[in-house]
């Protein structure tokens, strides 16, 4: 099996250039590629376009890249919970393109699957429709949306193998599988890296063909945004 292993996050992200288009997996802070984000902070690159459902919080996730002014443009569905983001946006330092979450997910899926455009009802009749082709099918109105692809897709999985196969955990799956397929170069960081053959072929969420580089991450914080619990009795 083709071996995709690199040493660590530093090696994995080393050739990302200023001006690159990145996809970063995760929903909120759940399932984000923590190791790669920290390595990108050290790279001194800027003018990045980041396609990610959210923009992290002030001091974690993509929020850290915003603090370092590495991001020129965010493509997201929801960017609350981030004061620095708001400051940069209002000051004009940061550009943001907001998309319906399902449209974002499907555009990325289309990018990986070689579908240049598709029709969705989401956003019809709203400002999201501005400049987009509108068409009726079976009596309902739809917008044409185009694929999204990236120079680098950076994803986080639970388990991975040396062939690049990935299994995600819980709701940390979210955007990661579609992004893995939509990157020219896809970098996967995993909590546990196993020899090829240790993952059940029937349980793999992302087949290794989509992954160019894989490494076992270290020191996962996995910060929780809203810890809600049920107290016993």
């Amino acid at each position: 099996m083709i071996n995709k292993v690199v040493k660590n996050a530093q090696e994995a992200v080393s050739d990302i250039q200023s001006g690159s288009v990145l996809m970063l997996g995760g929903f909120g802070l759940c399932g984000i590629p923590e190791n790669c984000i920290h390595a990108i902070l050290e790279l001194g690159i800027e003018n990045l376009t980041c396609i990610s459902n959210n923009a992290g919080v002030d001091d974690f996730g993509i929020g850290l890249m915003l603090q370092k002014k590495q991001v020129k443009k965010m493509v997201s569905s929801y960017v609350g919970e981030n004061a620095e983001f708001e400051r940069q946006l209002l000051s004009g330092e940061l550009e943001v393109e907001l998309l319906p979450q399902g449209t974002l997910a499907e555009r990325i899926r289309a990018g990986g699957a070689g579908i240049p455009a598709f029709f969705t009802p989401a956003g019809y009749g709203t400002e999201v429709a501005e400049g987009k082709e509108v068409r009726e099918f079976d009596g309902k109105m739809y917008l044409m949306e185009k694929w999204l692809r990236a120079d680098f897709a950076i994803v986080k999985a639970w388990k991975g193998d040396t062939a690049g196969n990935l299994i995600y955990k819980g709701t940390a799956r979210n955007f990661n599988p579609m992004m893995a397929a939509a990157g020219k170069i896809t970098i996967a960081e995993v909590e546990e890296l196993l020899p090829a053959g240790e993952l059940g072929p029937n349980e793999i969420h992302t087949p290794g063909v989509y992954v160019q580089r894989i490494f076992e991450g270290v020191g996962y914080e996995k910060r929780i945004e809203k810890r809600t619990v049920t107290s016993k009795n």
């Binding site: 929903f27 909120g28 759940c30 569905s77 989401a122 979210n174 619990v229």
Partner: protein, 219 residues
């Protein structure tokens, strides 16, 4: 007396039928889960990739990798399933979710909804709301009848940027339950306990349709 948030949630819970798959938005809609009768088998969907949302976890079971769309830690149930965001919105867009309950800033008498953006204020984004309102078979809005400044949120047409068009089927507010008619207009169905039809008329800027006696809600 107008309902509080819990009252709105309780009234909406009465709309839920056995066997429904339901997506609950953030805020009052999330509260609805607490008042679904135990005898009903329903499944809650979280658009970040979970079908079968359980209660909040016990402290020792909290998992960062298991959250709902409001980013709260949750648990799973026997029969829960996990999937990616494209599958999740395929489920929504494909009409597999029977009921969507969400909040709104404004609803128009033809069923338009505005709930994501106020010009001049920081925009946080629409999240999954546009996908949900564009696709769900049945959309119930949970909201206050009037804004904090006392303006009606049930309007002839929305003044804020839209989230979706001609999609809201029912509205439950602190004052009333109303159907949005296909032909346009808010049809008054029930009054909150002690709230008069006159008060509701006054609080409704859009076309209000009142036919016959309007019963009080039974909560």
């Amino acid at each position: 007396m107008a309902l509080d948030k819990i009252g709105i949630a309780k009234r909406i819970a009465q709309e839920i039928k056995d066997g429904m798959y339901i997506n609950l938005g953030i805020g009052i809609p999330t509260l609805v889960a607490n008042y679904i009768p135990d005898k009903l088998e329903v499944v809650l969907q979280s658009e970040n990739g979970l079908l079968g949302i359980g209660r909040f976890p016990f402290e020792e079971d909290v998992e960062a990798d298991l959250i709902n769309a409001g980013k709260q830690t949750v648990s799973m149930l026997p029969g829960s399933s996990l999937f990616n965001s494209a599958e999740s919105f395929g489920m929504i867009r494909g009409g597999h979710i029977d009921l969507t309950i969400l909040g709104a800033m404004e609803v128009s008498e033809n069923g338009d909804i505005a709930n994501w953006k106020i010009p001049g204020k920081m925009v946080k984004g629409m999240g999954g709301a546009m996908d949900l309102v564009a696709a769900a078979k049945n959309i119930i809005v949970a909201m206050q009848h009037k804004s904090k400044s006392g303006k009606s949120k049930l309007l002839p047409s929305c003044t804020l940027p839209l989230t979706g068009t001609k999609c809201v089927r029912k509205i439950v507010t602190d004052m009333a339950v109303l159907n949005v008619l296909d032909s346009g207009g808010f049809q008054l169905i029930e009054r909150a306990p002690g709230v008069s039809v006159e008060e509701i008329k006054e609080a409704t800027a859009g076309k209000l349709i009142v036919e016959g006696d309007i019963p009080e809600m039974n909560i």
